[in-house]
Amino acid sequence: MKVISAYRPFSLLGIMNLILFNSAQYNTMSKLTYGLIMLVALTMIAPLLVAAESEDDEHEENDNEGRYGEREGSDERESEDEEHEGNAFGSASNTVLYVTLAAIVAVGSYSAFKVYQAKKKATKKLV
């Protein structure tokens, strides 16, 4: 498995955290805002690193195809079978991702609806 040194953005965020959290004028709301910004930045950096890594993978695959393009017969059949298995697993894990995203959207929507209901009740009581 490839291991890439993607620690740099994360460590920079950690250092910024240490500096800012030591500031005497740092109040609770700013801490929350900064913490959320840090988490959002981390999640935004992640796809960029994946994209960079996948470009490298594509270049490597193209090189490999050039070298091994002369294989025939049973080798091709075996690789097709493996590809079918890989595709099945890939589609199953993509399903997991879609289910996860759907669940999070559902939870968020339900929570927002409950907050809206509570706010509406409070407004009615005032009136």
Partner: protein
């Protein structure tokens, strides 16, 4: 429990997270496969999450038991009330350590990212953000939103399932 009694401990969270990252930083410039260290970080994340959440769930369940009815008196209730804040801080601290360890594990093994790992990272981030909102936000509506999201059983089930799937699918790569 005095260690967890006040919450200037977020600084300790950062300190502990930095301690976890320090060995990664020291190996970062070497062309060495530190997949073993990354794997350890993953187990640290799982262990911290299990201890933080199971202990807090058990504490809350015991606290809500009708102890007076079974003759254990009001002392247990008082102790429960006193212990709540330290237990909550313990839960927050350990979950934060687990979150940072998990994210470090994910960043170090980015090349092997798949849909299950990405789903797990998303669910962990959502839980963390909702917990942060619940703890630090003063606005009533946002706090209610954070409490609703953070307390959803479906997120907990999703998290446990994804961790299990991730361990099962990735265990072959480290053998």
């Amino acid at each position: 429990m005095n260690f967890f009694s006040s919450f200037s401990q977020y600084k300790k969270i950062i300190l502990i997270a930095s301690v976890l990252l320090a060995p990664a930083l020291s190996y970062a410039d070497d062309d060495v496969d530190y997949g073993g260290y990354a794997q350890t970080l993953g187990w640290v994340s799982i262990g911290a999450g299990v201890v933080a959440n199971v202990s807090f769930m058990i504490f809350n369940a015991v606290r809500k038991l009708p102890l007076i009815k079974i003759g254990m008196g009001s002392e247990m209730q008082k102790m429960g009330a006193l212990m709540y804040k330290p237990m909550l801080n313990f839960h927050i601290l350990l979950n934060a350590v687990g979150f940072f360890a998990g994210m470090s594990h994910g960043l170090m093994l980015f090349g092997g990212l798949d849909s299950i790992s990405l789903s797990l990272a998303i669910v962990m981030t959502v839980s963390m953000i909702s917990g942060v909102i619940l703890k630090f936000e003063s606005d009533r509506n946002l706090k209610l939103f954070g409490r609703l999201v953070h307390g959803q059983i479906i997120l907990s089930i999703l998290l446990v399932s994804l961790v299990t799937l991730h361990v099962v699918t990735m265990s072959g790569d480290f053998d």
